[in-house]
Assembly symmetry: none
Homo-oligomer: 136 residues x 2
């Protein structure tokens, strides 16, 4: 769970080379990753809004949004409509496969338990899972 609130709005140091073969979107992605591994961006930090950064870089805000989305999909940041974009906590060290299996077992049991308390059979609970998967 991430706890985020607007305390400080970040200004970040990004330089775009418009003559580069590297697309602007890529440059943004790479430079934010660079700021992150260098420790200049920390978990919980709020990035500039797509419009603010776009104005600063003199590009369209959709280009910034595209870069943010890529970073979001790789789990580096969290973009939240109406709220802003934030650096995520770094993923914890990899659990062993066995440990993950056990965790899955625990949460699966919990799901069936909760469904049971709501009055649903195991079969109905399983069907609901299938339904959700089918609708995605």
């Amino acid at each position: 769970m991430i706890q985020l609130y607007k305390d400080t709005i970040m200004t970040i140091n990004i330089q775009i080379d418009f003559r580069s073969d590297n697309p602007v979107t890529n440059q943004i992605v790479e430079q934010i990753q660079h700021l992150l591994v260098n420790g200049e961006l920390k978990p919980g930090d709020q990035l500039p809004t797509v419009r603010a950064l776009a104005t600063e870089l003199r590009i369209n805000f959709n280009t910034v949004a595209r870069a943010y989305r890529i970073l979001d999909e790789t789990g580096v940041i969290s973009t939240q409509q109406g709220r802003g974009t934030y650096i995520l906590e770094q993923p914890p060290p990899e659990k062993s496969h066995q440990l993950k299996k056990e965790s899955l077992n625990v949460i699966a049991r919990r799901y069936l338990d909760e469904a049971s308390r709501l009055g649903f059979s195991n079969t109905e609970a399983a069907e609901q899972i299938q339904l959700l998967i089918a609708n995605h």
Copy 2:
């Protein structure tokens, strides 16, 4: 000395996942419905004020107000300006059943989300459920 306006401070157990595709407003609505069908909220109970819950969840109080309004419109709660928000009488059986189905949906999605965070695909998560059922 200044006296407290209310001698009971209502707290409810709601967890917001800012990374979820599900909007925060929706998450609040669903989780309050879940608390209701689970019996953790009873008719007459006062919900936290929009500002109190918003502060706790680290969101804007208008987002809570929006969720409360949705629940109000579906007849689950009663919000009264200047007074607060209260759980209404238990919904009739057919509506209760509807709410329970929605609640099942909520916990099913939560299970898939958690499994995904552990690195399991939806299919693997579903198989784990089947495995548990088969071993009973």
